[in-house]
């Protein structure tokens, strides 16, 4: 039984950063903007929250700082992509480079190390030190994990049950109609991108001050891209994104699990590939089962945006 508890624990641990970022990216995607820079935003968030936690002495103010920084970066991204009409994909890949290189540079400039930067101020874990029993499922998980159901619900309400959510979808799907109806498409896209930035900051913070209590170079290792895929695979619907993120979280946990228990007798590296292979399979499945899912988003770009 304890293996099952440990497994659930690592599923939750693996899903949380993916889900925070994916729930945020949902808004950018619904607003018709490919935000491929999630990875960069998460790294910036992870670094800013560690820096904030060290400087300000509290992980929560660290997270607030991270959110502020990521929102600022998102505004710049909006300016470049929406106002200057840069290619969103290339700008997004650039944002990843800025995140990877910029945090590494600042790490050297501020903390004078290229190794890990750890913080004493961390997000508390309500349950800790429980090694056995059902409660061990929640052992050492940060509060940001517990906040996920709330976040998912709020995202669902905002995306599906508010005026703003409707405007976001309209801006993404039929910008001309949205314009004609008086929606200020660019401003709505700005709002959507800022939400994406803020939630990526939380996802990144979960990695640094939440679970690992440290920042290290390129620590997201593809989580941002996986989160982006979760939005595609979840067909831009809040609950679909939750489900997709859990599938990727389970793949991550399976990797860790079989690493410990040597289940398949495969070399370690092949097990570590699992989340990426599952992502490819998920994309293939989505493209095969819902052929229009991908093309709708692309169509929004090629034909309808602005």
């Amino acid at each position: 039984m304890n293996e099952v508890y440990t497994f659930v624990n690592s599923v939750l641990l693996g899903t949380t950063p993916i889900l925070w970022a994916a729930l945020g990216c949902l808004f950018a995607h619904r607003a018709g903007i490919y935000q491929l820079g999630l990875e960069g935003l998460m790294l910036i968030g992870a670094f800013a929250s560690i820096g904030g936690a060290i400087a300000l002495g509290s992980a929560w103010t660290g997270i607030l700082l991270a959110m502020a920084v990521c929102v600022l970066v998102s505004v710049v991204f909006w300016f470049v992509v929406v106002i200057l009409k840069a290619n969103a994909i290339i700008a997004g890949l650039g944002l990843v480079g800025i995140g990877v290189g910029g945090t590494s540079f600042l790490q050297g400039a501020i903390f004078h190390t290229s190794g890990a930067v750890s913080a004493n101020a961390i997000i508390g874990a309500p349950v800790s030190g429980t090694a056995t029993g059902p409660l061990s499922m929640l052992s050492s998980l940060s509060l940001l994990v517990y906040l996920l159901p709330v976040a998912a619900f709020v995202v669902w309400v905002v995306a599906r049950r508010t005026n703003f959510g409707l405007r976001v979808s309209a801006s993404g799907q039929y910008p001309f109609a949205a314009k004609a109806a008086g929606v200020r498409v660019r401003l709505v896209q700005l709002g959507a991108l800022c939400i994406t930035g803020a939630m990526c900051a939380i996802g990144g913070s979960e990695l640094s001050v939440g679970s690992l209590h440290a920042f290290s170079y390129d620590m997201t290792a593809g989580v941002g891209y996986v989160a982006f895929t979760a939005v595609l695979f979840g067909r831009e619907a809040p609950w679909g994104v939750v489900l997709a993120s859990f599938i990727f979280g389970i793949a991550t946990a399976l990797g860790i699990f079989s690493q410990i228990h040597a289940i398949f007798g495969l070399p370690l590296e092949f097990i570590q590939m699992m989340p990426y292979i599952v992502t490819v399979l998920a994309l293939w499945f989505a493209g095969w089962r819902w052929p229009q899912a991908g093309s709708a988003a692309e169509g929004a770009f090629a034909e309808l945006r602005e």
């Binding site: 490919y34 960069g40 470049v80 106002i83 200057l84 009409k85 840069a86 290619n87 969103a88 994909i89 290339i90 700008a91 890949l93 650039g94 944002l95 990843v96 480079g97 800025i98 990877v100 290189g101 910029g102 590494s104 540079f105 600042l106 050297g108 400039a109 501020i110 290229s114 001309f176 314009k179 008086g182 929606v183 200020r184 498409v185 660019r186 401003l187 891209y225 982006f228 895929t229 595609l232 070399p267 590296e269 092949f270 590939m273 990426y276 292979i277 992502t279 490819v280 994309l283 293939w284 989505a286 493209g287 095969w288 052929p291 991908g294 093309s295 692309e298 770009f301 090629a302 602005e306």
Partner: protein, 389 residues
């Protein structure tokens, strides 16, 4: 893209590069590294220092191989972002072939076979997400990136697993080195064969894009896939072919890197070459000549990024930061680019700017001609949203 608006595009690339360099300099200054010292460090590391020019060329060569292939995909509007994975695949397979075939066959023959095998491996690594793209409409950016992550773990697997050398030092596992007879260049990474190879591949791709029906069809798809399909272009076949070509040249780059300067693969080997190669293709305005120049620029920056940690203590990952900054702005359509484009066309008496088909095709997923449409039909959006650019 034709020659007439080449001036505008080159201007835009130059501006993006300068903006990126300026932002990076400001950041470095703010981080406590003097911008002037960094700039002179870049010049020393890339050009004036002893052996710097050779190092610049050494890093420009693989970039040029990859970026020439990326141009083909991007012109067709297929966003193949997985050059790094294809580079790894080429490196791994060429290493395997180079180690397995007996040198009694003759060093150059083994080397040729290994390079060919590496290029084919890169091609396969690119065609797989390509198949997903053309038959299942799977987003090719994510597909190719995921294959890159998978290839990254394959590199570590190869280094710690089947090809591991007992001579590995410390924590880093290293594969056995290919025999000297099979190496295509000395450790300096510069060989006349490799330089000729880049020029040959560049010439072949130039000919393919500019002088063949295939190249014309790629351009058609890049500009307007719907129209291309109506006109009878086999989008799937052409698309797959662009994926194949991109993978082939990226695999070549990987093979020549491994059989040339490196000789072996170490675990965690990450040359950060994928994004840089995409950027080289874009800064080189998706033209073969431009790519060769851009590859030298970024080869120089790579060489400088190795020198800067010694000279000024700046971490070598600063290059990733700079690359990111330039990518961030390189496709932005600033007023100056459009103005210079118009000027170039007035001077040469070409069609007015914004004439459909003059733009560099932008990969799918982004509006290739959004601003053209806006400029062309201003009356189409009466309730204009936000401020006009």
């Amino acid at each position: 893209m034709n020659w007439r608006n080449g001036l505008g595009s080159v201007g835009r690339s130059g501006v993006a590069l300068l903006v990126g360099l300026a932002l990076a300099a400001i950041t470095f200054q703010a981080g406590g590294f003097s911008a002037g010292g960094t700039a002179s460090g870049v010049v020393t590391g890339a050009i004036t220092g002893p052996g710097s020019l050779a190092l610049t060329l050494r890093y420009a060569l693989p970039l040029a191989f990859i970026a020439i292939g990326v141009v083909v995909s991007f012109r067709g509007g297929f966003f193949n972002a997985g050059a790094q994975g294809q580079f790894y695949a080429g490196g791994i397979v060429s290493l395997y072939v180079g180690l397995t075939l007996p040198t009694s066959l003759g060093g150059p023959i083994v080397a040729m076979l290994a390079i060919l095998a590496g290029a084919v491996a890169g091609m396969v690594w690119s065609i797989l997400p390509g198949l997903l793209r053309v038959y299942f409409n799977v987003n090719e950016v994510i597909g190719t990136l995921m294959f890159s992550f998978i290839a990254e773990y394959l590199v570590t697997y190869v280094a710690v697993g089947p090809l591991k050398s007992s001579a590995g030092a410390g924590q880093v596992a290293v594969t056995t080195s290919v025999p000297n007879a099979v190496r295509v260049t000395p450790a300096s990474g510069i060989g006349i064969g490799v330089v000729l190879g880049v020029l040959l591949v560049g010439a072949a791709v130039w000919w393919l894009l500019r002088r063949t029906r295939f190249g014309f069809e790629i351009a058609l798809i890049g500009r307007n896939p719907v129209m291309a399909e109506v006109q009878g272009v086999e989008i799937r076949q052409i698309g797959l072919a662009t994926f194949a070509i991109t993978g082939f040249t990226a695999g070549l780059g990987g093979a020549i890197e491994i059989l040339g300067p490196l000789g072996s693969i170490s675990s965690g080997y990450d040359p950060n070459i994928g994004l840089t190669a995409i950027l080289v293709a874009l800064v080189g305005v998706l033209a073969v000549g431009g790519v060769l120049v851009a590859a030298l620029v970024f080869g120089g920056l790579t060489a400088a990024s190795l020198y800067l940690p010694i000279a000024t203590g700046l971490p070598s990952t600063s290059l990733v930061f700079l690359t990111g900054l330039v990518s961030f702005v390189v496709t932005a359509k600033v007023g100056w680019g459009r103005w210079s484009q118009g000027l170039a066309q007035r001077v040469r008496g070409g069609p007015r700017p914004g004439h459909r088909g003059d733009e560099v095709p932008v990969p799918s997923g982004a509006p290739p001609d959004a601003d053209e449409r806006q400029r062309g039909t201003p009356a189409a959006s009466p309730g204009s949203v936000g401020t006009p650019v």
